[in-house]
Amino acid sequence: MSLFLAYLAVLAALLSAVTAAIDGRSPWIDAFIAKGLGRWPQQLARVRHSLAAEDYAARHRQLLFTLLGGSGIAALLAGIGALASGAPLVDTLPFGLPWLSWHTRLDPLSGFFLCVLGLPLIAVALYGPGYVREFEHGKHSLTTLGLTTGMFVAGMELVLLADDALLFMIAWELMSVASYFLVAFQHEHAANRRAAFLYLLMAEVGAIAIILAYGVLAGFGGGLTFDALRCAALSPLWASIAFVLALTGFGMKAGLVPLHAWLPEAHPVAPSHISALMSGVMLKIAVYGFIRFAFDLLDQILWQWGILVLVIGSASAVLGILYALQQQNLKRLLAYSSVENIGIVFTALGLSLIFLSNGDTALGTLGLVGGLLHCLNHALFKSLLFLGAGAILHQTHEQSLENMGGLIHRMPKLANVFLVGTLSIAALPPLNGFVSEWLIFQTALQAGSIQSGVLRSLIPTASAVLALTSALAATCFVKVYGVAFLGLPRSGHIAHAKEVGHRGMLAGPALLAACCVLIGILPAPLINSLGNLTHQLTGADLGNISTLGWLWLTPVAPEVASYAPALVVIGILAVGWLCYHLLYRRTGLEPRRAEPWDCGFGGLPARMQYTSGAFSMPIRRIFQPAFEVQETLEETREGPAGTRVTVLRYRFQVLDKAWLGLYEPAGRGVLHLARWVGRLQTGNIRTYLGYSFFTLIFLLWVIS
């Protein structure tokens, strides 16, 4: 049943792709209709008329996204079903090679990620029709957009269902290629083209690494189905090779430092609902791949792997958020913060690996659950934030924080929804981001149970980095909200922004916000429902997660740690209401509106506010070594001997060190090599004859 629902999801996605492709307005469709209905002129006329109707485009759009939403709902239901039942459902499809048809499998793990995919997809489906309307009259056809979006979604769902390496790779690459076309959708800007190319290139490299990883397993397991791969008996060395390859491949897609370079380039330039899907869902698909490979397919786990993942994860987390803090472009900032969150997820997975390799199943499970929960949370609030950013972009065509401000007065509804996302991603109680980080901290704090001193000292250090990360994340998103929504507008078109008109464009984010709050307040049921999943992967579940009842979280044991978000919320509301009642209702003193304090100079223009760059300047100073900052200061002087400075213009740009250190040299190297090889083609036929001659001589000499 749930497998059927999953198929339904894939079909719906493909169907929406097809629907997009068949745009009744395209000339060849018209010709087709004309040919078909040539004999019945009045029907032809009717069809043509309905196609020419004003609302045709709107209905067409609506249909596309309804199908996508249907796909999301089906995926969600399928996932819930799989999580609930726990028994894997397997099936084979009549595709693929003669002796290797496509194997599909729906088990709790893929089920969970189907849910992770489903929720944002539904939100996007609500949001999309309003958002893509502006492309209607642009030079880029919606056909491309809809077609590739459908492919993209279908690809992601197929990755989750794949049960053999071939189908997995096909779906994986389908996902990459489709999203490439989406990134390149608005290709008139050179930056977008560059981003798209970089993205596809790195996706390809990652895919190559993944293929190699599967190849290692297939080489030993004799077969391409996941069952065969599971049977592969590997020596620790080969297992490590496979693991590192998988980590590289999936990490490249997930955006682990230093393989993240494509992410801040590609996510900002895609249409916002696509950015939401890419950042919110696609990265999770990569995480799924990693979990599937490391926890499920590989038959052993070495503690060194855990260390590796832990270190890389922590590095990604802290570097990601540091770079995010320095961005001026809102979507770029969000992209970097995705790097951070993925880093947190991998930190959790690293902990889990360490504990598992140490034979401590319970704690391994705890780490895994923390990581999975953070996946879901990030999917929710990151999609929410991208949709919000998209809404701002849609209303004001503004991406740069430096020009925003005061939007809370102009888009109050959006501002409230966005606030929820901000607080959740800043990992503040009582919202969902905090819950997952809390679980990860709890895992890290159990390091005492490990015998090896090295690990025992490393894990707390990692948790220290995690603490730093979450503090910086709070800073970063306070900046975002404060600069974008509060204060005074910093540019004219922001000052005249209007609330989003399309209802769906608010409903989508609102749905996600509701999920954020719900998970934040009542995480226990969700975590309990992961029992089947953890059973499948680690053979254990969090037995006493809710010893004190379903309101409470007691990951290890009640006396070790406990957290009751619901009660906390009640407490806050109670106290807050009490104060409000006592202080406001009773006194009944209405506040008086007045000018803010301006040191008596009078008149505070918007330019006097702190800008985004100024807000993050102290951090930039403090963590100087992590950045490559280019600052320029232009000043125009006047008066005698140019003593009086009239205009000061300060510009700064923060460059990614990984880019300068890793990617550019690689590119240069390839070109150099190519130039060197080019010498073969001298253009002189006698040289060519010489090649042939000496090849012959050489071969004759070899064989005799």
Binding site: G406, H409, A427, G487, E559, Y563, L589
Partner: protein
């Protein structure tokens, strides 16, 4: 019964916070050979503010008006989690020390947002500085707390205190480091000299004050009160985690009485300590605060590592 006790304790906490502030001020005046105000002065101030009509700057949105309530509520809740005179109260179970740090962050976030909501230079300046300091102080604090948590195998405060009480007086190097770290953080987080000067009137040097520059009336009252509670919270944390002796472990009147007396004594001593340091040091430049805080961070991490390395023998699971 327990719940009532817990609520009473919380109320006591809230009620006593201004008193501690008053006491601190008093000691300070004595040290600076000034004539001190009465101990109850803070209460009077709060009452006065409560009666005044608040002023709302033009650009402000609902965030500005909601922030004080959120800040106060969050702080009160944290106060409820922290055992003041007795351990094993049910409220201590609701949340552990990590949540506590989280609530500090929540309160801070809203304060900062309120600071940016008014769209003045000072608000943004204060917010930026506050967040910078916090983003360094918070991990330091977490590390300090983790040191305790790892040796006590719990992040639940009252459990931790029980653990320390049960094991009796053990000279743990890790605790020394953690204590140092936590004290430094406390100074930074409560906005005292040398990090920030609560009594300053020069906007450019302000951090915390710059954010709440626009607040007045009942809102200011709430915020002031909340920061007094916060000061006391840190005091209680330091006192009860590292020197929990005297805290009530059962709810018999006499032990509770002892508990009250002891905590009052400890807090008084801590306040004196604080004042001494405040008079001894001068306020630092904003960019020297990072060194100060990274030192705190270093201390805490050292605490953690020394726990791992020096006290490894104690690790049993």
């Amino acid at each position: 019964m327990d719940w009532i006790l817990a609520i009473l304790e919380t109320l006591l906490f809230i009620g006593a916070a201004p008193l501690l502030a008053g006491w601190t001020k008093r000691v300070k005046c004595r040290l600076q050979n000034r004539k001190p105000p009465s101990l109850l002065q803070p209460y009077r101030d709060l009452l006065k503010l409560y009666r005044k009509q608040p002023i709302l700057p033009h650009p402000a949105s609902w965030i500005f008006r909601a922030a004080p309530y959120v800040v106060f509520a969050a702080t009160v809740l944290t106060a409820a989690f922290v055992p003041l005179v007795a351990v094993n109260l049910p409220t201590a179970k609701i949340a552990d020390v990590i949540v506590l740090v989280g609530f500090f962050a929540l309160a801070r976030t809203f304060l900062v947002l309120a600071g940016m909501d008014i769209g003045t230079a000072f608000g943004g300046m204060g917010s930026s500085r506050e967040m910078t300091i916090a983003s360094l102080a918070e991990p330091a604090m977490l590390m300090a707390v983790f040191t305790l948590a790892m040796s006590a195998h719990t992040t639940n405060l009252s459990q931790a205190m029980n653990y320390v009480l049960d094991t009796g007086l053990v000279l743990r190097p890790s605790f020394v480091f953690a204590l140092g770290g936590l004290m430094l953080v406390a100074v930074a987080e409560t906005g005292r000299i040398p990090v920030d000067n609560p009594a300053t009137h020069l906007e450019l040097t302000m951090i915390h004050e710059a954010m709440i520059l626009e607040y007045s009336g009942r809102w200011l009252a709430l915020i002031e009160w909340a920061s007094q509670i916060k000061l006391m919270l840190y005091g209680v944390l330091i006192a009860n985690i590292f020197f929990p002796w005297g805290i009530a472990r059962d709810f018999s009147p006499e032990s509770i009485g002892i508990g009250v007396g002891m905590i009052a004594l400890k807090l008084a001593l801590l306040a004196i300590l604080l004042v001494l340091s405040e008079t001894a040091f001068a306020k630092m430049r904003i960019f020297r605060v990072q060194e100060y805080l990274s030192f705190a961070y270093l201390l805490s991490v050292l605490g953690l590592l020394s726990h791992i390395i020096l006290e490894a023998a104690r690790v049993h699971h």
